[in-house]
């Protein structure tokens, strides 16, 4: 799902994902915990990494300080 609205605000699905990533998690676990399809989680993570709201650590992802500040 898209993470950033045209006006720059975060979507509800993005907020849910950022809240979950207070601890590192792999895409498969994120998909399971949020009950979202894996393809959708991957696309969202790509967008959030591009916006520096999430960073990749090995095969897992975790919220950045910038991402934390947007919550």
């Amino acid at each position: 799902m898209p993470c950033v609205n045209p006006d720059g605000t975060l979507t509800d699905s993005a907020r849910a994902l950022l809240r979950l990533l207070g601890n590192p998690a792999a895409p498969e676990e994120i998909a399971r915990r949020l009950d979202r399809p894996l393809f959708s989680v991957r696309a969202s993570l790509r967008e959030l990494v591009g916006a520096d709201l999430v960073r990749a650590e090995g095969g897992e992802f975790v919220v950045t300080e910038r991402g934390q500040s947007r919550l």
């Binding site: 799902m1 898209p2 399809p37 894996l38 393809f39 991957r42 696309a43 969202s44 967008e47």
Partner: protein
Amino acid sequence: MPEATEIHSLPRLGSPAPQFEAVTTQGTLKLEDFRGTWLVMFSHPADFTPVCTTEFVGFAQIHSKLRELNCELMGLSIDSVYSHIAWIRNIEEKLNQKITFPVIADLDRKVASLYGMIMPGESKTETSRCVFIIDDKQVLRAMIYYPLTTGRNMDEILRVIQALQTSDKHGVATPANWRPGDKVIVPPANTQELAEQRTKDAAVECKDWYFCMKELK
């Protein structure tokens, strides 16, 4: 000066599905995002048209069954994402059917061209009714091409996926009109020794050494 001939290529079965990135009703998606699940990617000629509407309802109705088969669903037409959204909302309002899968807005025809979805003899501006079945390793496994006039059969799309997954799991082939639970075809013997063994194998039923079937347990 000879006229230039435009070549329209199709993707190949058994080869990696062409990769792409596309704007969809569920954000920008890459084919790579679907790795690990099967994918039914289908095209339709145009939003707000009747045959396509019946197909969208049909695809939505099999979406949960597809997910039970570890298979996702994605549509495509050469319409804008705004047209897609309006049409999806119209389907939900008028036909009480929620559309749960993403739909590619392929305005620049990039994906349509990669996958040979446009049949100039039918339309130079709309995709035909194409279905691409891509496995969890992103290999293209089956293609179905239907004309603009004829809506597709959802049961057949489900059946093909079930057949392919059965073949992958058990190393068998499936006969005409196969349904889950039916007997499957044992790969034909490719040596004289195996041909002889096959005719004596009580676990399989053979019409002849090359034509043997069995039940899956």
